[in-house]
């Protein structure tokens, strides 16, 4: 495989790379590691090698595409006619990237009536807003979103296109990328412009967040990425800012959705969903019962947060799946995460360990959750949580 290679002199033949390889593509030959055809170039062995004897062939970002491309584009998602949080974050990040590359920031916004959000996008930092209005764009019809997005991008060849890593973004943006024949990096947590080449360096977690990979799309345009919500900070709106707003309403022959949304079932009773919440109070097996999650509701209420759970309470039917945090649930990135009666298996940690502050409450002092916690209290969550509700209630609004 051309992309990963062993440096013969440096390899000590220790075999650590063999153990690290997820696809069994490394063998010992003549006392040195040998990479076979089974290699998928995931790069894990590079970090596993204690002798730094395995290299990944680096992208030479010198080659630029021949046709010119220009501009940073961000897709701004609406929910109930309003911009979702990640869209504001994207405008702020997009503004930064556009300034860095000396180009314009264009925001896309789709819906039934996009006038007000379009003005807000200008106030947030967009130089130009391209709106699309059509009945099929009110609810999420993948086809309609793909066609509108491709139609707007086709004539202009943007340099960079970004979209929030929401359910909607992660469903339709890959289709746009495939249609445009370009690369897409999922769920990025860092976006930087390479100083030398001007290429977008897109960093994302892999293997549940235990590794970070920096990805580039050197030869094709646009360079596309979906962005994890709450990683970038939204800027303040400046109502005095001016920008161009173009809203296209004639989609005859372009938007012809094959799917039909029959019904919208809204089940998140709480006003904030866990991926959007700044504060998340989560319970695990240690909460003992569905009833005891009422305590967490109270704590979340006192803090203005949302209630989540690890896998065990979801499997036990105490909490709906929509609230599950972790590898088979959602990834959250709040400012504060309070883990109550959660031991902290790696599958849970990958879904929450990028929170700013983590509080762990668990009976077992050896529980892995304490290894990522900013603050820990060793004790029974059922005893500690009521005390915490009281303590926070006392000092908060007075």
């Amino acid at each position: 495989m051309a992309t990963v290679r062993v440096l013969p002199v440096q390899c000590t033949g220790c075999g650590d790379c063999i153990a690290s390889c997820p696809v069994a593509a490394i063998e010992m030959r003549g006392g040195e590691a040998f990479i076979t055809d089974a290699c998928t170039a995931c790069g894990i062995c590079v970090t596993a090698c204690p002798a730094e004897a395995i290299e990944m062939e680096h992208v030479k970002p010198a080659a630029r595409p021949s046709e010119p491309s220009r501009g940073v584009w961000v897709f701004a998602e609406l929910r109930h006619g309003r911009l979702v949080g990640v869209s504001r974050e994207l405008v702020a990040k997009g503004r930064q990237l556009a300034d860095r590359t000396g180009t314009e920031l264009t925001a896309l916004v789709f819906g039934l009536d996009v006038g007000a959000p379009a003005r807000e996008l200008v106030a947030l930092g967009a130089d130009r807003v391209l709106g699309a209005e059509h009945p099929a764009l009110e609810l999420f019809h993948d086809d309609a979103y793909v066609e509108a997005c491709v139609a707007l991008a086709a004539g202009e060849r943007p340099e960079i296109m970004l979209c929030g890593g929401t359910v909607l973004g992660r469903a339709f943006f890959p289709r746009v990328a495939a249609r445009l024949g370009t690369g897409l990096t999922a769920d990025c947590t860092s976006l930087e412009i390479d100083g030398e080449s001007g290429i977008l360096l897109q960093t994302r977690p892999a293997y549940g967040g235990s590794l970070l990979a920096t990805i580039a799309c050197p030869d094709r345009r646009p360079q596309m990425a979906t962005v994890r919500p709450k990683v970038f900070t939204a800027g303040a709106a400046d109502p005095g800012r001016t920008g161009e707003i173009v809203i296209r309403r004639d989609w005859e022959g372009v938007i012809r959705p094959r799917t039909k949304v029959l019904e919208v079932l809204e089940e998140v009773v709480q006003t904030v969903n866990i991926a959007d919440a700044d504060i998340v109070v989560a319970g695990g097996r240690g909460m003992g019962s569905a009833e005891n999650f009422g305590l967490l509701e109270q704590l979340a209420k006192a803090l203005g947060g949302a209630v989540a759970a690890s896998r065990a309470p979801v499997d036990a039917g105490w909490v709906p799946y929509a609230r599950q945090v972790g590898q088979t649930g959602k990834t959250v990135c709040p400012k504060l995460y309070i883990a109550c009666g959660i031991s902290g298996q790696v599958q849970h940690l990958v879904g929450m360990q990028s929170a700013d502050v983590i509080v762990a409450i668990n009976k077992d002092p050896q529980a892995p959750i304490f290894s990522v916690a900013t603050y820990g209290i060793v004790g029974d969550a059922l005893e500690i949580v009521p005390l915490l509700i009281k303590a926070l209630g006392r000092g908060s609004r007075g």
Partner: protein
């Protein structure tokens, strides 16, 4: 109804431990398994076959050892297994992978429904499903938690959203990706295990599926890995000791000083 289920071999992260000193994953003795989400996709395909007739084919792409996941699919009840194997496929990103899978689905032929897990737990991109749909020119329904109705020409599903779910109708053929809420996968039957023993996958290379080699594998991938590194290991902070009431008071003080309430 002919159904294709896309499955991927991944390292079993249930057995992965993080080395606290280096923050690296310890993979020694970690077995390779079927991506857990793909098992929900396979189960749903088997249930649809049981309810409506037809056949279920499992499709994977990967090195020779990836055939094991097809064997497992057969043990669980799949009728056929197709394996895309060859160096030309290696190192592909989601665009190259979905292109190869699309050519294979077309080669299998007459497919009414393609099911995928919502994402693979090694890459976590969730992009192959929708990109596959695009290459095939079919509708895509992502994050499906329930199939309400399936008819020869159309399907009604519930797809998860941030706030609940949408009930969506789509014509068939279509591509679906499923979440774990959709079902509880069965265990392999004795009969299935017997079948798996004598199972031989249909192995295809690029030529067999009529794929353009320049669009496959590392060469056909627009995205390139620039570097892979460990995140700064998050260290455990302060354990607040003391009697429960006292510890809680100190915790509340710290949270307050950081502006949380």
């Amino acid at each position: 109804m002919k159904i294709v289920v896309c499955i991927k071999q991944v390292p079993d992260t249930v057995h992965v431990r993080i080395n606290e000193r280096t923050g690296a994953m310890e993979r020694e003795g970690v077995p390779a398994v079927v991506n857990p989400y793909d098992l929900y996709a396979l189960e749903e395909a088997l249930r649809l076959r049981e309810a409506h007739g037809g056949s279920v084919a499992a499709l994977t792409m990967g090195p020779p050892q990836a055939e094991a996941v097809l064997r497992e699919a057969i043990a669980l009840g799949a009728d056929e297994g197709y394996h895309l194997s060859g160096r030309e496929f290696a190192g592909g990103d989601t665009l190259a992978t979905s292109y190869a899978l699309a050519r294979a689905v077309e080669r299998i032929g007459e497919v009414r429904l393609v099911l995928c897990g919502k994402q693979a737990i090694d890459g976590d991109t969730a992009q192959v499903g929708p990109e596959l749909a695009e290459h095939l020119g079919l509708p895509f329904l992502g994050f499906v938690r329930r199939v309400r109705e399936a008819h020869p020409g159309r399907i009604v599903v519930e797809r998860m959203t941030e706030e609940g779910a949408d009930a969506v109708e789509s014509p068939l053929p279509a591509v679906l990706s499923v979440v774990k809420e959709i079902n509880t996968p069965r265990l392999p039957s004795l009969k299935g295990k017997m079948r798996a023993k004598s199972f031989k996958a249909t192995t295809w290379n690029a030529a067999a599926i009529g794929a353009d080699e320049t669009r496959l594998g590392f060469a056909g991938s627009p995205t390139k890995v620039v570097k892979v590194f460990h995140p700064e290991a998050r260290r455990g902070g302060e354990i607040i000791a003391g009697e429960p009431a006292e510890a809680v008071a100190r915790l509340a003080e710290r949270l307050r000083s950081q502006g949380f309430c």
